[in-house]
């Protein structure tokens, strides 16, 4: 077990190194004088240019610059944002709970709706419901989610006036400390009347938009995995010994059908982060995706560099955890290559 853990952890090291190399090279490829790109000033005097060139280590050989970069990253130094003068890591950690909260509710929606919908379709295979679900899910994963978000804003928020257009909470009516960064939790702890409900209202549309593609994928996956399981001997045995159909499907079949679904959920973290960039942009949701796009507009390359690195680290980390959990659940993965 320990050997498997160590091997799996060791496998991520080359990926990390390559990731550092990628972001290191990327910022060097930005057109323009490297000093001006990094300091964010144009047409500096030669003395100032030389000063920063030395300060940033740009007068060193390239291989040494890379080693310096890796060294700094290993010590948690992801650089300083040009526009806010804050540490990139600090800025990321302040904004990340917003993205995490949004992703959590999106996945919650996708699982809570997708799993029962897919399981029901498998049981009623070939029927009207099954066909309708398959069609809807095809729409779901063909959907340009940025447009879907605009449509929802247009109908639900503007026409019907049901839900807020943007942001995480109504800032005019509510203000409280945010020790956790998760608006729903902070609102609950603030004991301001209605704050929690308002935070939830702000979450509905973004969570629907971000959850649409995973919902479609999970529904399809549950359906096909359920279809396979329903033909297994143990399901036939459960039926034959006279268990209620609800129990056969809900306990014996669904529980086994969920394993591949859990894999899909683990794998969708990368897709969630990509979707969060679009969703946060549409709803002005102050998370890391919005921040990343914003930093491009401000030509804040250190923030962009650190942001890409940190978001990818999250993805690699989650995938690693999923793999390790699998090793615990399923010995075949641990021992196989």
């Amino acid at each position: 077990m320990l050997a498997y853990f160590l091997r799996r952890v060791a496998l991520t090291i080359p990926t990390f190194l390559a990731l550092m190399f990628l972001t290191f090279v990327a910022i060097r490829l930005v057109p323009g004088d490297p000093v001006e790109v990094r300091v964010g000033e144009r047409s500096m005097s030669p003395e100032r240019l030389a000063y920063f060139r030395h300060e940033l280590g740009l007068d060193q050989p390239v291989w040494k610059q890379f080693l310096d970069y890796v060294w700094r990253l290993a010590h948690g130094d992801f650089g300083v944002s040009l526009s806010s003068q804050q540490k990139v890591l600090t800025e990321f950690l302040t904004l990340f709970p917003a993205t995490l909260e949004l992703s959590f509710f999106a996945m919650l929606l996708a699982i809570a709706v997708g799993v029962p919908a897919g399981a029901f379709a498998a049981v009623k295979r070939g029927g009207v419901y099954d066909q309708a679900l398959m069609t809807i899910s095809l729409f779901g994963y063909s959907m340009p989610i940025f447009w879907w978000g605009l449509l929802l804003i247009m109908f639900v928020s503007v026409r019907l006036g049901l839900l807020p257009v943007s942001g995480r909470i109504d800032l005019i009516n509510y203000s409280f400390d945010q020790p956790t960064g998760f608006m729903t939790i902070d609102a609950l702890m603030s004991d301001q009347q209605g704050a929690f409900f308002d935070a939830l209202r702000h979450l509905v549309l973004p969570a629907i938009v971000l959850g649409t593609v995973p919902l479609a994928v999970i529904a399809r996956m549950t359906r096909s995995s359920m279809l396979e399981v329903l033909n297994e001997d143990y399901v036939r045995t459960a039926r034959a010994k006279g268990l209620a159909p609800r129990r056969v499907i809900g306990v014996h079949a669904l529980r086994n059908a969920l394993l591949p679904v859990v894999t899909v959920i683990g794998l969708s973290v990368s897709g969630l982060m990509a979707g969060a960039v679009l969703t946060e942009t549409i709803f002005s949701w102050p998370g890391v995706g919005y921040w990343l796009i914003d930093s491009i507009g401000r030509r804040d390359y250190p923030a962009l560099q650190g942001g890409v690195l940190l978001i990818s680290t999250v993805v690699i980390g989650v995938n690693l955890i999923v793999d390790l959990v699998y090793g615990v659940i399923d010995p075949r993965i641990r021992h196989g290559r």
């Binding site: 295979r125 340009p144 447009w147 279809l227 990368s270 962009l304």
Partner: protein, 308 residues
């Protein structure tokens, strides 16, 4: 017995003589593909989009970049104040929506198809190289693909565009990089599966060179899943490119790219909903048509993966 024989030779609705002779691969593929009505419908819609794209110069009533100063944000024909001059209305700069949507099909299909072709060719080459040339290259290629997969698709595309600058060409480069690993992994996995088979050993013994072994012995037997991947890859590429366009990092205005058209549409949500609705609808219809076709391709090419 006689009844059995008759049943074997005359399937429903087919000419008996055509079945006795071995049907050509294309004919048997088409017969299987045709079973899936959704796929045929998808293919028809996709065909229509392709025709519109090709004939854009003839079909479009106006130039996609001409600004009609006298008719800014004109409503579509079915709304109050709409006219047949601008059937689907005009946008915030007075561009004719219909013409932009038609020319947009050209841009989106160009992006989708070129991303697919380039990543297919490079991906297959890298995948075959990884599977067949020994462990060093294999590890190097596999790790590189792991890296690309570790960065969320749109984040990687955003990084590439932020560095290279936003343009149509750089969109294609960025999206190609993002979708490369899928082809590499698929090719590598199926090539590894084929390499242990007898016909490959036979070809090796017969003295077939490595290049020919890779491309004309092994590759044709790996093609089925790759073709499905390529079809679905076109729709993913279109979506990804439109996403970049929406973020203002794709094709730049006045290029009539569907995602770019949506980028500034937010301000018209209250007043002029057609400016927001139509470009997204075009993306959805195109992507849906390609995905339907792709599903049909999978069912027809790979009987194992046929859905229940």
């Amino acid at each position: 017995m006689a009844a059995d024989a008759a049943a074997l030779t005359t399937p429903i609705g087919e000419d008996a003589t055509a079945v006795l002779a071995q049907p050509s691969p294309l004919a048997s593929f088409w017969a299987a593909f045709r079973e899936n009505r959704g796929a045929v419908f998808g293919l028809a819609v996709f065909g229509l989009v392709v025709m519109l794209a090709l004939a854009a110069n003839v079909v479009a009533p106006h130039s996609p970049i001409e600004q009609f100063r006298d008719a800014v944000r004109a409503p579509p024909v079915w709304e109050v104040g709409g006219s047949w001059r601008f059937v689907l209305g005009t946008d915030g700069d007075g561009h004719d929506m219909l013409s932009r949507l038609i020319f947009g099909a050209r841009v989106s299909l160009f992006i989708g198809l070129s991303v697919m072709c380039v990543s297919f060719v490079i991906g297959v080459t890298l995948g075959l190289a990884a599977a067949m040339t020994g462990p060093i290259l294999d590890v190097a290629i596999t790790r590189l693909m792991d890296l690309i997969l570790a960065v969320p698709s749109l984040v990687l595309a955003v990084l590439v565009v932020a560095v290279l600058g936003p343009s149509l060409a750089n969109t294609i480069i960025a999206v190609t990089i993002v979708y490369l690993p899928q082809y590499v992994r698929l090719t590598r996995a199926s090539a590894l599966g084929e390499l242990s088979k007898d016909y490959v050993t036979a070809a090796r013994v017969a003295g077939v060179g490595p290049f020919r072994l890779a491309y004309s012995t092994v590759l044709p037997n790996c093609l089925a899943p790759l073709i499905v991947q390529a079809a679905l890859g076109v729709s993913s590429a279109i979506l990804e490119a439109a996403g970049l366009g929406f973020l203002g990092l794709g094709a730049q205005p006045p290029t009539p790219e569907w995602g770019t058209m949506l980028a500034d549409s937010r301000e018209f949500i209250r007043s002029d909903p057609w400016i927001v609705t139509l470009p997204g609808l075009a993306i959805l219809v195109t992507v849906l048509a390609i995905n339907l076709t792709g599903d049909g391709l999978r069912d027809a090419l790979d009987p194992k993966m046929r859905r229940g």
